[in-house]
């Protein structure tokens, strides 16, 4: 299709902790293409957030990173701080999960909005910055924007804070927006509103969005392409439609079975929880990370080495030794 | 919570789980503590000091000077003299400083121990009542504590000691009453978190009487944390005692304490530094080791801090 704007190459993130090394992300290679919305799904702790915080240089101090994150011909991971500061916030920006703690409670919204704008472009006057901020607040449908602009974060509701975060991230007209579970904490109507806003803004500005989420429903509605992560690895990537129509990886299939579908009859539909626990990333299972919970797991084959991502179909990659997994699962 | 199945609440009730859990917790804490080098060294120093205090009379025997013996040849504070066995010098009245410092430390430790126990009792009672009764009583008691924290209680102790004499029991009680607030707060926090914990809920759901819950579940669990904070209270108490002694309000002759000895030397440091140095060094060692041990214990039991 189109060109990649941000590509992760063999990204590996380990955290040093007193109780051992947490191998949070293990060799992720992914492309974010121009003008697409890329969905990232996976269980809690599968490394979704860390994978995308790494190119922004936002990992905790105890992290060690290897690999590359290529953006406009530069490797963001090896950029020195000043150069990185010119990229983040202007060309790539991020919306974090948990809007309640991501805004500084001690500073007014005006301060927090304007600082990103005016630091990167000193020529913007205060009044102009203010005008742009308020316009942006109105764009993300915050009512009574000029009053809100003067308030403090605790005076806003959760949904409003999330919209404020999005507005803040978009102030500098970035090329890439990384949205980390922007809707998880919100109720369904507000969730739909925010997703609408994201989609509109993407179309309007032609940016690329990484949408990290737990929710397959959100992915189906919003994304162009999807990557499924498990145990710090990408297990399957495909165009959204292809993935939903023809899932290849046993984990993806299990995930879909664990998700309620609207069209299914509520009474006949049985949700299948995935048995077992998510892997302990201090001592990840050898070979395929999903093996301990996989219904098709073959002891010798799957534990010998991690399965590589293979192209199953046009632009559809899957990391599983069992090429006929969907059939096998249907029969079982 | 009353929906809990009976087997589970029984399991919680017989306490087997918490016994196991708390034993292994203590083991873990002990391991963490023994990995903390500063704390271990402090423990050794403290042990030496405590032995010195316990066997204080040995110092009298070894040097041949008692606490009150006034050596005529060494009147008006003479520097250390090894031949005469005044290893740390003598004071204004020709008394041997080493012997006096060791006995003073003994008194300081004694006062600290008793006063800290007073603080422990008061603090635990206050905190436990506040946490157990809850409601507006709790709110009121905590408000009072908040205000008290920024209140110069030591000054009130000065007044009380000046008025009610310097009887050693009064000293115990008054110093104990100065240093109980943190203990009360910590105990209340612990009681509250216990009250809301599963196994207490379970016990309550199966109709175990309140007194027995308090006796068998709350008290044993509070004791642990109270002891940890006791080790942090003791240096505070020693400090208050030495402060009062320094101002001439603590223990009285013929007894002495580190604070009293320091105050005797403090104004003469220009010409007779040994008068203040020996008790000063012992006081600092004592406070330092106790503080590090207390910090070590707290970190070992509650590692999330820092």
């Amino acid at each position: 299709m189109t060109q990649a704007i941000l590509s992760l190459r063999d990204l590996t993130i380990h955290f040093k902790t007193p109780d051992g090394i947490v191998k949070a992300v293990n060799g992720v290679s992914l492309d974010l293409r121009e003008q697409e919305i890329l969905g990232i799904v996976g269980e809690s702790g599968s490394g979704k957030s860390q994978t995308w915080m790494a190119p922004m240089g936002l990992l905790a101090d105890n992290a060690s990173v290897s690999g590359q994150a290529l953006f406009e011909g530069q490797d963001l991971l090896s950029l020195e701080p000043r150069a990185l500061n010119r990229v983040r916030g202007t060309k790539i920006s991020m919306v974090f999960q948990d809007p309640m703690t991501c805004l500084n409670p001690y500073l007014s919204i005006s301060t927090q909005m304007m600082e990103g704008l005016r630091f990167h472009d000193r020529s913007i006057s205060k009044t102009e910055a203010k005008k742009r901020c308020i316009a942006m607040l109105e764009r993300v449908a915050i009512p009574d924007a000029s009053r809100r602009f003067r308030q403090y974060p605790h005076e806003l509701s959760g949904g409003m804070r999330q919209r404020l975060m999005i507005a803040m991230a978009l102030l500098n007209d970035p090329k890439v927006l990384i949205a980390d579970e922007p809707t998880t904490a919100l109720d369904v109507t507000i969730q739909a509103q925010i997703l609408d806003i994201l989609r509109e803004l993407q179309a309007e500005r032609g940016m690329s969005i990484v949408l990290i989420t737990h929710d397959l429903g959100v992915v189906a509605e919003t994304c162009d392409r999807v990557a499924v992560m498990y145990g710090g690895r990408v297990q399957e990537t495909a165009a959204a439609q292809a993935l939903f129509e023809n899932p290849q990886h046993p984990y993806t299939i299990a995930l879909m079975q664990a998700t309620p579908r609207v069209e299914a009859d509520a009474e006949t539909q049985r949700l299948a929880a995935i048995p077992g626990q998510p892997p302990n990333m201090r001592v990840p299972p050898p070979g395929c990370a999903f093996f301990p919970r996989c219904p098709l797991g073959a002891p010798d084959l799957c534990t010998a080495a991690t399965p590589p991502l293979e192209e199953r179909d046009q632009d559809h990659f899957c990391a599983c030794y069992k090429a006929d997994a969907p059939q096998l699962l249907k029969e079982a | 919570m009353s929906l809990l199945r009976p087997e589970r609440s029984e399991a919680a009730l017989n306490g087997a789980f918490d016994a196991v859990k708390s034993r292994s917790l203590t083991r873990l804490a002990f391991e963490r503590f023994s990995r903390n080098k500063v704390a271990v060294v402090s423990t050794i120093i403290l042990a030496v000091l405590v032995l010195l205090a316990i066997f204080a009379p040995v110092a009298e025997i070894l040097t041949g000077y008692t606490m009150e013996f006034q050596d005529r040849n060494f009147y008006s504070a003479k520097p250390p003299n090894w031949e005469a066995k005044h290893f740390l010098g003598t004071d204004q009245n020709g008394r041997d400083i080493m012997v006096r410092v060791i006995f003073g430390m003994r008194i300081s430790m004694l006062v600290a121990l008793v006063a800290a126990t007073v603080a422990l009792v008061v603090g635990v009672l206050y905190g436990a009542i506040s946490g157990l009764v809850g409601g507006w009583v709790d709110v009121l008691m905590m408000r009072f504590l908040d205000l008290l924290i920024s209140y110069p209680l030591t000054l009130i102790a000065v007044i009380a000691l000046a008025y009610f004499g310097r009887n050693i029991y009064i000293v115990f009680a008054i110093i104990g009453l100065v240093e109980w607030q943190i203990m009360a707060r910590v105990v209340r926090g612990q009681v509250l978190s216990l009250r809301n914990s599963d196994f207490i809920e379970a016990a309550r759901a199966t109709g175990v009487p309140t007194t027995s819950i308090v006796l068998h579940h709350i008290i044993p669990n509070v004791i642990g944390i109270a002891v940890v904070y006791l080790t942090l209270t003791i240096p505070e108490v020693i400090l208050v005692e030495s402060f009062l002694g320094f101002l001439g309000l603590g223990v009285q002759e013929p007894n002495t304490s580190l604070g009293v000895l320091i105050s005797e030397g403090a104004t003469r440091v220009e010409h007779k530094p040994w008068l203040v140095f020996s008790p000063g060094v012992f006081l600092v060692l004592l406070l330092m080791s106790l503080n590090f041990i207390g910090d070590g214990l707290r970190d070992a039991f509650d590692p999330k801090d820092r």
């Binding site: 936002l58 101090d61 701080p81 000043r82 500061n85 010119r86 983040r88 916030g89 920006s93 974090f96 948990d98 703690t101 991501c102 805004l103 500084n104 409670p105 001690y106 500073l107 007014s108 301060t111 600082e115 990103g116 630091f119 403090y152 605790h154 975060m165 991230a169 | 205000l147 008290l148 924290i149 920024s150 209140y151 110069p152 209680l153 030591t154 000054l155 009130i156 000065v158 007044i159 000046a162 008025y163 400090l239 030495s242 402060f243 320094f246 101002l247 309000l249 320091i262 030397g265 403090a266 104004t267 440091v269 220009e270 530094p273 203040v276 000063g280 006081l283 600092v284 406070l287 503080n291």
Partner: protein, 402 residues
């Protein structure tokens, strides 16, 4: 704001309770101010007791202490305890010279009445005690009464002499501890778990571990004596530099009495300040660490802001909040510490007055100094609350700290 005033009110109530407690303990405790070596003859004693209202019941004594007393006829009636409401305002100007003993044997009228503010002000202005009206206005009007052991001195004068002596060292040492401790704590947090961190925390700890009653003598010995001796040796004996006058030859670090240049602030401030330093370093380090690890700092970094801006804008406020809350308890630490430095350096101040009042049973002086010390505590707590509301917008709008 409502929160600040509520806190202020609570503190005030606590002060009144404390005053009542001190007031009643001193009167219930054995012994009294007048049983010194030579107790006064019984009739004078009766007059004295009447003058100080000690013949009344305790509640009325306390109310009298707080609000002042209407005029009482003491001498003429010879019956202590009877209260007359006098109507002779010009007799109010009975003055005393020297000891109150002589005056009272004259069987004179002692008159007190409500005191207008201008009179009270003029008393602070006029320094000659014998030009002042002998009357009681009550503590709430700023009248602490006459001292009980030195009966020609007003407690107000004591306080006026002592308070500057205490504040002179308390305020600089607090500022010293704050302006050194907070940056140290922030540095330690920013370089967490490095040598810088270790150095900052242990430097702060020195003052915590060495209590100020030991720190005082040690600093005198090291800085005022050894260092002085070294300089003397270096410049005078060894280098044979210049002829120096006796005064110039020493650093002259030890403060003496009232005379004192800026150099005399050095040692007491250091002693008091280091006692606070460790706590302040630890608290600001913890506050800054928490902020640095917080999600909102991550957001700020995601905006591409440089570290210095993040530190000053996003970390500063939450970082100093724990220090600000500690400023309340700090007042107690400073007060006890100032007792120690007043003793160690033989300085005049409220602390020594407080101690001597307590040991001599000078009830009025003790009450007066207690009031002043408590006012100090209250004022500091009030400032803390103001700072807190200024720093934390959540209190400003919601009315209580979280």
């Amino acid at each position: 704001m409502a929160y600040v005033f509520r806190r202020f009110g609570q503190m005030l109530i606590l002060v009144v309770i404390a005053l009542a407690a001190v007031f009643s303990t001193q009167r219930l405790a054995p012994g009294g101010p007048f049983d010194g070596e030579k107790p006064p003859p019984p009739e004078i004693l009766a007059n004295l007791r009447a003058y100080y209202d000690m013949d009344l019941g305790m509640p009325s004594q306390f109310m009298g202490y707080l609000f002042g007393m209407a005029a009482r006829d003491v001498g003429q009636s010879g019956r202590p305890g009877r209260v007359h409401w006098l109507t002779i305002p010009d007799r109010a100007k009975v003055s005393i010279t020297g000891s109150i003993y002589d005056e009272l044997t004259d069987d004179d009228l002692l008159v007190r009445k409500w005191c207008p503010w201008d009179e009270w002000l003029s008393r602070w202005v006029s320094s000659k005690p014998d030009q002042r009206p002998l009357r009681k206005c009550g503590v709430l009007r700023g009248d602490f009464g006459l001292s009980m052991t030195k009966r020609n001195i007003y407690v107000n004068d004591y306080v006026r002499d002592g308070l500057p002596g205490t504040l002179k060292y308390a305020v600089p040492s607090l500022l010293f501890a704050l302006f050194l401790g907070v940056p140290m704590g922030f540095l330690a947090a920013y370089f967490q778990n490095t040598r810088v961190d270790f150095a900052m925390v242990s430097a702060g700890m020195v003052g915590t571990i060495i209590p100020n009653l030991v720190m005082g003598p040690i600093l005198i010995y090291l800085l005022a004596i050894q260092l002085d001796g070294f300089f003397h040796w270096l410049f005078v004996d060894y280098l044979d530099w210049v002829e120096l006058s006796r005064r110039q030859r020493t650093l002259n670090l030890i403060p003496s009495g009232k005379s004192g240049g800026p150099i005399h602030y050095f040692l007491p401030t250091l002693v008091l300040g280091t006692a606070l330093l460790g706590r302040i370093v630890r608290l600001s380090r913890a506050g800054a660490l928490e902020a640095l690890r917080s999600n909102y700092v991550r957001t700020a970094r995601s905006k591409g802001l440089p570290n210095w801006l993040i530190l000053f804008r996003h970390v500063l406020k939450p970082g100093i909040l724990p220090v600000v809350t500690y400023l309340g308890p700090v007042s107690a630490v400073i007060l006890t510490g100032s007792l120690v430095i007043e003793y160690t350096f033989s300085l005049p101040g409220l602390g020594s007055q407080f101690i001597s009042a307590a040991t001599d049973r000078d009830y009025t002086l003790l009450m007066g100094t207690t009031v002043i010390l408590l006012v100090f505590v209250i004022v500091l707590n009030f400032i803390v609350d103001l700072l807190y509301t200024w720093l934390d917008p959540r209190i400003r709008t919601e009315g209580s700290p979280t």
